[in-house]
Symmetry: C2
Subunit: 318 residues, 2 copies
């Protein structure tokens, strides 16, 4: 029986170790000591998993005062994780939720309401790897309901942003028949990193430098229409129940009257394209609120309870 | 008394935690749980330090089955490191050595010879962050001698490669008066990552795709001359003894007869520029060997012992 994994490697070795570790579930103790991670970055090695990455600082060329300290800490870390007390297993029915800072006000309010009803809520950060981790969680760890407050990863995939979660994003829950409550949270923009990562053909677009490592771009009406149709195609494939609830007054904290990304015409294009393309199986409601209005979280809560068809009882799923 | 540090953060929080952690020495237990590291990469957060980075997978928005597992592991890791047995303190005099795969044959042979004489050898990987870590180690942890088998970081700084260790590389030991044995290991090339990271004005140069994340470029004669003069300027500033030993038959495993980077004229330009610019204080020897010839490691060993003026005894330095 294996309780934990410790890997040590340079460039090639880190890649090999990481590949093996990424097959293991979240929570399984895994430590990777790597000579390369400080240069190459962790993204390539951790993927969507909780791999503890420890830069070796010195080269792994024999034992010396530096490598002894680093390797001793790696050993301590894996032993500490394996011997540590496992967290108590949750027995509440679990709901996954995507969100970004721009829809956090809605997300935290809705989360509180759901927890008050006995749901457990697992939130994922919609920056690409977050959406991927959410899809994996839905598949592997089980989720009884899915709420999307961030669909920007779809736009990123379509229009070349840096926060794509791959072409299958928002299709896993549908394939598994899991109930989905969808809002177009953050549909108004796609993500880049530093301003230099914005491709030349987008340089004259409406850009927002949120911080040195986060630049966002407003999607225009034409792009919003493509996004609407793409979203509809994904939801039409779902084998479980799907509801789409649209906050007409804006999709993110930047997309509201007076906000830097406010563009009701582009948003209307999205709504129209989505409505035209959606099959009759999918319910669509437009609400005259902004996504971060407290009343909108309340609407979502009511719709979600109706979608689930019950006030949840204790789940036996683990 | 603080025995370890555990930090948890998103983009901003990770940056703040990381800044504090990087003030702590190598070996001091530090764990950073970060929502951003899987996207942004670890490089920005770990710097030259052994910070254990744990991607949070889910957003840190309350406790749930995922965040409980991840945070429980983080707690286990820091406790395991703090409670783990500290490695025995080394008491041998320590020598730092820079190297890359292309000079490893020389490095490992020389390391063995030095260890046989009672030295402890700490090797750093010359990929930029490695050279920076070496300079910090020389300053903070103490080194009684410095051996350079990799000067490619200087060329990277001069010519826009991706493995620069900053403009002060190879100046710390000189400022502290620590004896230095210098070879032009890997002087023949500079480093890029994937082939796309090579700037357009270098696209028609002699490039070598070592692996998908490592492309190197042969420096031409003119650049080698600039490198020689720059190196001389750095060494001329040293307040301690410096010896430069040059293997005329090639500076890396790629720079030898029949090798992809073999270019004796460019190397001669480097040697001439270096010799012309070096002050009389710095000893320079040209040896008719390749850097990875076993006899060259033997030459370096003899020169280093002479430079240190003694067969080392037990050091009290810690």
């Amino acid at each position: 029986e294996i309780d934990g994994v410790l890997g040590i490697g340079g460039g090639q070795g880190s890649a090999v170790c990481s590949h093996a570790m990424r097959q293991l579930p979240v929570g399984f103790p895994k430590v990777l000591v790597s000579t390369k991670v400080a240069q190459a970055g962790a993204g390539a090695y951790v993927g969507t998993r909780d791999i503890l990455v420890l830069p070796s600082v010195a080269d792994i060329a024999g034992l010396n005062r530096l490598t002894k300290r680093v390797l001793s800490n790696a050993a301590g870390a894996i032993v500490g994780m394996v011997e540590g007390e496992a967290p108590q297993e949750e027995v509440r029915p679990v709901v996954t939720m995507s969100m970004l800072g721009t829809t956090t006000a809605c997300g935290l309010r809705l989360k509180e309401l759901l927890e008050g009803e006995g749901f457990e809520v697992v939130v994922f950060h919609a920056i690409g790897v977050g959406g991927k981790a959410m899809e994996e969680f839905i598949k592997e760890s089980g989720a009884e309901g899915v709420i999307e407050l961030a669909v920007n990863e779809i736009g990123n995939e379509l229009f070349g942003g840096k926060a794509s979660a791959g072409p299958q994003r928002m299709e896993v829950a549908g394939a598994l028949g899991i109930p989905q409550l969808i809002t177009p949270g953050n549909a108004d923009f796609i993500n880049f990193l530093s301003i230099e990562t914005v491709p030349p053909h987008y340089r004259d677009r409406k850009l927002h430098r949120h911080n040195p490592q986060a630049t966002t771009m407003r999607l225009n009406r034409e792009e919003m229409e493509v996004l609407g149709r793409t979203l509809a195609d994904k939801l039409n494939k779902a084998s479980g129940p799907v509801k789409v609830i649209i906050p007409r007054k804006g999709f993110s904290s930047w997309d509201r009257e007076g906000g830097i990304f406010f563009d009701p015409q582009a948003d209307e294009g999205f709504i129209r394209a989505l409505r035209e393309q959606l099959s009759g199986e999918v319910e669509l409601k437009v609400v005259d609120l902004h996504i971060n209005d407290p009343a909108f979280a309340q609407v979502l809560f009511g719709e979600f309870k109706a979608l689930m068809g019950r006030v949840p009882k204790k789940s036996t799923r683990r």
